[in-house]
Amino acid sequence: MNWISERKKLIGFLAIFLFIYFLPVDVNRFNDAIIGAFKLLKWYAKEHVILCLIPSFFIAGVITVFVSQAAVIKYFGVSAKKWLAYLVASISGTVLAVCSCTILPMFAGIYKRGAGIGPAITFLYSGPAINILSIMLTARILGFEMGIARVIGAVIFSVVIGLIMASIFPEKNKEKQAKQFNIPEMENNRVIWQTALHLLILILILVFVNWGEPLVDEGLWYLIYTARWFITAFCGLLLALSLIFIIKIRLIHVVIVVLAVLFTALLFPQFPLISFIVAVIGISIILSISSGEPQEWITETWGFAKQILPLLAAGVLVAGFLLGTPDEGGGIIPGDWIYTMVGGNTIIANIFASVIGALMYFATLTEVPILQGLMNNGMGKGPALALLLAGPAISLPNMLVIRGVLGNKKTMVFVLLVVVMAAISGWIYGSLF
C-alpha cells in the first residue's frame, strides 16, 4: 500500500466527501440557486438553442469551409498596405477565427512575419470579440442594442488599440523574414459573391427567425415581428435555391426537404418551430450525403455544436447558480453585491467590470449567460458593455500565451489598453443609452 502514489486519489476522495458532508442543502438559498441553475438551462434550451444557436453553427460552418482563408491572409503580408491590413484585421475575426486556437498562431504570424504589431494586435483583439456566434447570442439575449454596441465597439477598439500599440512600439526595420506565408492553394470553383450570397441568406434567416418582440404594438419593427415566420419561410426558399445553384446539391434532395417542410407547415400551422426543425434535419441529411464541400460543411457545423454546446451549458449552469434566472432571481450571490459593485454607470463600476472581464476566462459564448445574470441583478448597461469588450479577448491563461509572443512589456501595455478602453467605451455607452 503505497500512500505516496495514492495520495492524489486520496485527496480527491476526501475533498469530494467533505463537499458532500457539508453540502448546504438545508439552506434554502442554496437549493434555490441549484434550481435556478437548471431553470436557466432549460430556458436556454427552449428559447435559444434551436432558433439561434443551430443556425449560427451552420453559418460558422459555411464560413470555415467556403470562405477562402487564403484570400484574406494575403492582406497581412509584410508589403500589404497598412490601412488595409488594419481594416481587414478588425473584421476578419468573424471570417478567419471561429475557433480560438486559430487566433494565436495567426497573431504570432502576422506579428513576426507579416504586417507587424499593429494589425496583429488588431486581429488578436477583434477575433474573439466579433465571433459571429457571440454576436448573435448577445443580440438575442442581451438585446439588439448590446449586440450592435458590441460589434461596433470591438471593431473600432481593435483598430485603435492596434494603432496605439504600433505607435508605442515602433518597429525598426527588422529583417522581416520575407518568407511568405505558406498559404494552401485551395481549389476555388466558387466565385466570392456566390459564397457571400449564400452566407447572407443564412444570416437573414437567423435574423428574421429571431426577430425580437417589440415593446409597442405598432410600427415597422412590430410588422416584421408578426410576419417573421413568413419572411423566414421566404428566405428558406432562397436557401433552397442557393443550395441547388451555389452549393450544388442535387435538385431532388432539396425538393424533398422543401416538400417535407411545406407538409409540416400545413399540418402544424400554429407551430412553425416544427417546420423549422424539419428543415434543419432535412438540410443536415442532404448535406451529409453530398460528398465534397457540403459534407465538410455539416461536419464543421457539427464540430462547432460539439465544441460549444457543452461549454455553454456549463456556463449557463454556473451563471444560473450564481446569479439566478431572469424572471425570478435567486442566485447564490446577493443581488445588492452586484449592484454595489457594478450597478449604475460610474467610472469605478466600468473599470471594475472591465478588470473582471479581462481576468476571467470565458469559453466561447459563456460570457452571455453570465452577463445576463449580472444585468438581472442590477449591473448597469455601461459596465456590461465594458465586460463584453474586455472579457472574450483576454483572460489570465491567454495572457500567458500572448506574453510568450510579445514579451512582458508589450503584453502589459496591451492588457492595460484593453481594460482602459473597455471601461471608457462602457461608460460612454452607459451614458448615451
Binding site: 475557433c99 486559430t102 498562431p105 513576426k112 505558406n182
Partner: protein
C-alpha cells in the same frame, strides 16, 4: 520519413495526429510522427493557421484536416 503536426493543442490538431497514426497502422507505413507545439517553431514553417501537416519538411496542409485520399497521395501510397 518524418511527419510533423504543427499545432498549439486544439482539438483539430489532436485529431490530425490521431489520423496520421491510424493511417500508419492501417497501411503499414513507416514514418515518425512528431508534434510541434511551440509557437516559435510552428512559425518557422510560415503557416498562419493550425493544424499544419508537414511531410519531410514540406508543408502540405494548413488550417484543416486534409482528406485521407490526399494524405495518402502525399505519402506516395496508391
Amino acid at each position: 520519413m518524418i511527419i510533423k503536426i504543427l499545432g498549439v493543442g486544439c482539438q483539430k490538431c489532436k485529431n490530425l495526429d490521431k489520423l496520421m497514426l491510424t493511417i500508419r497502422d492501417r497501411y503499414n507505413l513507416k514514418y515518425e510522427v512528431q508534434k510541434v507545439t511551440e509557437l516559435d517553431d510552428i512559425m518557422e514553417y510560415g503557416i498562419l493557421m493550425t493544424p499544419g501537416l508537414v511531410i519531410n519538411e514540406e508543408v502540405k496542409s494548413v488550417g484543416k484536416i486534409p482528406k485521407e485520399k490526399e494524405i495518402l497521395k502525399w505519402l506516395g501510397v496508391e
